[in-house]
Amino acid sequence: MNIALIQQALSYLIFSAIGAFVWAPLLTKILYKYKITRRDEFDFTLKGSERNKKVGTPIMGGLLVIITVTVLTILFNWNRENTYVPIGVMGIAALLGATDDLLNIFGKKRRERKISHVLNLIKVHKKWYMRLWYILILPWEGFRRFAAILGSHPGRGIQVHEKLFFQFLAGAVTAWWIYFKLGIQWHSLWVPFDGQPFVGWWIIPIVIFFVMFTANAVNFADGLDGLAGGSLVITFLGLMIISWTEGRASFTLLNATVVGALIAYTYFNVKPARFQMGDVGSLGLGALLAINAIAINRTMLIPFVGFIFYVEIISVIIQVFCRRLLGRRFFKMAPIHHHFEFRGWSEEKIVMRFWLIHAFFVIVAIWMSLYK
């Protein structure tokens, strides 16, 4: 075991945590100053009497982690081969999330257009080039409509189809990096207890899928005070240990930096939250989680290191499936943490139980990762 590496990683962790703690009040002040706070008119999540207290809480607190990690990595852990792309993709996803957060507060309500409307425009628009334009954008409009059916509320922010498009872009960048830049050994996929079967170019869709799925999964989990933050601390701690056992120095240090910043974030995010993560943090860190696992060739462990996030997103998929196809609710409300709130569980009880379950599965992931 490389003790020097873990010593260095823990130093990064401590330094990152201290750094984040130091500038957290500044971030809070900025968020309050520019009124980047939670408002009830666009918030469609559970709104029981307990939740009224969350109105007015700053969002985009995830910036604390994103900025701390980016700055420290650029200063102390920057290398083209390892940290360049993870930080870049995290940046793309975080930018997407930040845009969504800001539009949700300051934007206008987005217009919904039905396919039949576009088809009508193709038929009746008086300008031929506009008719041609509507024909060209018809597949995109179809995708948009499909995404709108899957999502429940268009709101003001970035719409589902736009999010999926940019997340696909982030996934594609990661896949390009893995497939073309990291070498032939990354064309094999590590499978627990089953060696490393060669998958060739199939690694590209696999990577895109995991990046998109995981980013959204973390996004769904960001619904209760401390849930996403605490779970991410456990996840990145697990990834840090796995990277360390694999001897991947840059990723051990990167994960340690994330854990440090997340500790500071979660300190301020536990109930009653001083600020909330927002899409800027959840999408960015979700993408980083996937990339860091993929980059140490532990892609198949993502459902374990991100267990609670996957439970959350699968609950949403089941709910949408049942709602649209069978016309009934499977859960009282999705994501699943809201279901338990409806069952009368307190927020603290849900969060702590989810943390524990998540920690157990991260330990399982670490155990599995040791089998070559």
Binding site: S49, R323, L325, G327, R328, R329, K332, F342, G344
Partner: protein, 267 residues
Amino acid sequence: MKLSPTALKTIHDYLNLPFIGIPGVWCPYFNNARLGQRGQLKVLIGKGTPEEIVEEAKIISIQYRANIFDKNGVFSAHVDHPAEHEQVECIRQFLVDNNLGVDCSGFVTNVLQQHFQETKNINLARKFFVTSKKNFLRWIISRLRPVEQISVAVYANDKNTSIVNNLKTIQPGDLVVILKTGPNKNHNHILLIEDVEGNKIKYAHARTWSSEGKYGHGISQGTITITNPEKGLLEQVWEEKNKFGEENETYLEAKQAETLEIRRIKF
């Protein structure tokens, strides 16, 4: 002969939605035709059971902070509405404003589902012919969401029901099918025969009367007194909410209809 106890209980539940501690909230009428929502929850397109309507009302109340119910589902607006009738009105207004209610075919289907399940162990919604396999997509949807696909037209289909010609032979579970009615002859309606006692036929249905405004509609019961069995249904005495003749809008709908039939389910 009567409807089965669970079917009668379902009617009772529609007339007194099972909200904790608030009796007398009768289910409003809601028809999805105006909004045309697709792929929506069964309960939000006028096909829900009483339990589903109550559950959805609680979820919507908490989700959209209407403060009508607390998280245990108990009515929590007592202070604003101290009298019981005001509480009922408050809940009914909330239901109507949130498109929670049942349409005529949804009501009949949910009641008869219980009746056939209890008496013949038949899942009525699955047994009905909705469409042939030639229309594959619609057939698949009718398999996945059977109750939502059952309209008045399905009840009027000879594959599912047969016409009862003799008024003397009417029995509980029979249906009064009203096709192409209203001033524009563009909607259908259905009544469920709930009980027959001598010459009195008691029916229940989900309806909306223009005279009752935005919040007055819902599940209702009425009677048809057979005064002359040799004549048609319109020649008998219709009474609902103490209204007779054309004041009784159910009778008026039956009168305006292009087709008025009594039908019996074949299964």
